[in-house]
């Protein structure tokens, strides 16, 4: 049975064993799940984590690393695998340079996921008439956008930025809207600030 319900039940067992420090049993359950769900990146991350926790290892550490690399390849936009690989590279292989590269990828994915969530939340809140809360989401989004793309945030072709923002440290950030979120952010700005001045 490979239904979602069965998956959830087995995953519950995995975490019950894990919590009780029965890592071999948890690992067996994950291996059963992987037979039915080989393309699930999260399962590969769990497998790699449990292999590292075994007292009597049935797999090598190199296999744990390969499982993490597989998880990154299966789901390159998911931050979890890259971040877990970063921890492995730094802690187990004492390779901070490679770890930093993995963490950079994971952090970038996590930031973009958070930006997507903040934009969705802002739009939902506006529909509920919660303008102030929507504005908070937008401000957080703009702050992350500036971190995500600092070099692209200054001036557009006509020399003027699209948005000026004061960050939590008091610094003024100039942001140019572009990328996959630009149209949605522009729509959101029009709803939040219908009277705002648009430069041509």
């Amino acid at each position: 049975m490979t239904s979602t319900r069965s998956f959830k039940q087995k995953l519950t067992k995995v975490f019950r064993h894990w919590k009780n420090e029965q890592h071999d049993l948890a690992l067996s359950e994950v291996e059963e799940l992987l037979k039915s769900w080989p393309g699930n990146a999260q399962l590969h991350i769990l497998w790699a984590s449990l292999v590292q926790l075994q007292e009597q290892p049935s797999h090598g550490l190199d296999e744990a690393k390969e499982a993490l690399q597989r998880a990154v390849a299966i789901d390159p936009n998911s931050p979890g695998a890259a971040i877990e690989l970063g921890h492995y590279l730094d802690s187990v292989e004492d390779n901070p340079r490679a770890a930093s590269k993995a963490f950079t990828e994971g952090i970038r994915s996590a930031r973009r996921l958070l930006m997507d969530g903040l934009l969705g939340q802002a739009r939902a809140l506006l529909q509920l008439g919660k303008r102030a809360d929507a504005l908070k989401c937008l401000m957080e989004w703009l702050y992350l956008a500036n971190i995500d793309n600092p070099s692209g945030g200054n001036k557009s072709a006509n020399g003027a930025p699209d948005i000026l923002l004061r960050d939590p440290t008091g610094q003024i950030l100039a942001i140019q809207l572009k990328g996959p979120f630009a149209v949605k952010i522009e729509e959101l700005l029009q709803q939040l600030f219908p009277e705002r001045i648009l430069s041509e």
Partner: protein
């Protein structure tokens, strides 16, 4: 959660003891001793690596504890 008085060998799993960062001669030291050696100036490289292994093992154990079952 690891305690300062815990012995390194009790905190590092058998699997992680296969890492090149594991140093058997530091296995009987306490976590506190290892932290102090790792923080010394200059830092003790073996202690620094052992500290990372201890903290990785603890982090992974916590992943299991952080979920409702």
């Amino acid at each position: 959660m690891e305690e300062d008085s815990d012995i390194a060998d009790d905190l590092i799993s058998g699997s992680l003891k296969r890492s090149k960062s594991y140093h058997e001669d530091y296995g009987k030291k306490t976590y506190k001793e290892i932290k102090e050696l790792a923080a010394a100036n200059p830092p003790d490289p073996k202690a620094r690596q052992m500290k990372k292994l201890i903290e990785q093992a603890e982090r992974l154990r916590q992943k299991g504890r952080g979920r409702r079952s």
